[in-house]
Symmetry: C2
Subunit: 339 residues, 2 copies
Amino acid sequence: MGKKTTIYDIAKKLNITAATVSRALNNNPKISAATKELVLETAAKMNYEQNKLAQALKSGKSYNVGVIVPRIDSNFFASIIRGIEDELSPFGYQVIICQTHEENAKEIENIDTLLNAQVDGVLMSITKSNIESNHFNRVIKKNIPLIFFDRRHNMEGVSSVTIDDFEGGYQATKHLINQGCKHIAHYTGSHNIDIFKDRYLGYKQALEDNGIELNEDYIIQIKSDITKGAKAMKSLLKMKTPPDGLFSSSDFSALGAIQELKSQGIKVPKDFCVVGFSNEPFTKFMELSITSIDQSPLEMGKMAAQVFLEQMNNKFKIEKRIILKPKLIIRKSSLKSDA
Amino acid sequence: MGKKTTIYDIAKKLNITAATVSRALNNNPKISAATKELVLETAAKMNYEQNKLAQALKSGKSYNVGVIVPRIDSNFFASIIRGIEDELSPFGYQVIICQTHEENAKEIENIDTLLNAQVDGVLMSITKSNIESNHFNRVIKKNIPLIFFDRRHNMEGVSSVTIDDFEGGYQATKHLINQGCKHIAHYTGSHNIDIFKDRYLGYKQALEDNGIELNEDYIIQIKSDITKGAKAMKSLLKMKTPPDGLFSSSDFSALGAIQELKSQGIKVPKDFCVVGFSNEPFTKFMELSITSIDQSPLEMGKMAAQVFLEQMNNKFKIEKRIILKPKLIIRKSSLKSDA
């Protein structure tokens, strides 16, 4: 069996772009009849997978894919979207984006909006996971691929690309313990969202495995926000036994915590170590760079897009659950030996 | 003449939200027939502007508005979008977002995508301003309101909300001169985009007004990017007479410049003053905070949305050109007296 012919092979042969080949194969109105004919002829000669081709030709696709995220102004979600666009663009797909601002009502409206806009697929990160799933079912009933990334709703028949948040929380906490922290605080988000619950569970497990008792007062549930992170640190430092380390589920809150620590004259990392989560670019370029967990958002977006394409090219329902590995990036905010 | 009745007055009277009132008035399918009747009755009793109401009722609107931006991962554009959403949401509109990544082909595709998605309006910031405007005309011909924000294409009949970039560039440069800088470099973007040309012209004028000769070698055209900003500073510092100040049209490039200056042991602001543009949040929270020009993005988004609403409620074409005032925010990176 020889190597399968791809759209890139056809593109090379005809000296045109892969995007043009894909559009021609998918009967996109932007491509001239002459080009379509040429591409189809060449594809046939090169034994390009005929079934998919025939399937694509008879489809009435919009070539729009909807992406729903909690917010666009975080590098994490922006990078995922970039990954999705990079992967889908050569196949002629356009990405349209909606934000939920963490509001469930908005999430439902976003799905309606995208369905009305006739999208070919919905790729999304959910707001909360214990809510009713009627709006997700509306997508599925229309036979439109639904793929979750980062934050998934636990439901059958839906693919997802996430990272191992438990492992991320475990690594972050273990690192703080290794740096000598004895009293480790934790900023978490709503435990209605699995990612925050799992990071917390990883934190808890790392403490347990290292014989450190969990102190419920050290665990603070806040929004991912600089001001909120500073305020929470203020209250932590007022405790009888204030913490000497923080694992924050958000880089933004971690930054706020560091600002508060500095304003109180507490030295980071000498007297207090901080680890964030998401590896937002600012964690790297701060003078006191912040240790964080990288989630490979570009990769996550690309994979979610690949699952979508696979589903589009397949008659049968595909259910994939891809779990990426988190990566601890150690920087100044937690590295005592370098301080 | 008494005060005009608004949807908020109707909402208060009925003890329901303004969004519900708006949706009912606009015959949104999400609202029950009973509520619609009640709202219409009350609106009539309170003399709510009958013409607009009748007009809205017969319309076949999608309640989707399309927003096109060069990138979503800058606080500037994300804040504009937030402003648009805040303003349109009470009226039942959903915002869908597309990115151009500064590619003109992508801009054309985005417009097709939004038109296919049946949006009621297109609010956008353009990629380049000297290109053909066929794709803009396609929107106008469909009688769909088109509104430019920040970056506008110079064409008749289209409203825009921008800031006075010339004034911003002038203020930034004047401030550097006031701090004693004699050799002021400038990072600019493509002069095909008015905002970058205007900031440059403001820079030029400020130099001229203060008897400082323009040195073309000090002007570098780069993308808004940390690495590019660092690289450009490296080359500037190799000059026979290196500059002692920088006005960067981008905060990201300004940050890169500061990183390079530091790595070469040059003290900011003592030996070198830096001013950015856009007032991205990181400029404030860096240890060495960065002086920048605030562009009131939230306000800009709200105003663009208001122009859209006004156009939707008006049979006649409205052409508005709103120009906001920029605001210099002085911080550590350029303030010698505090250093």
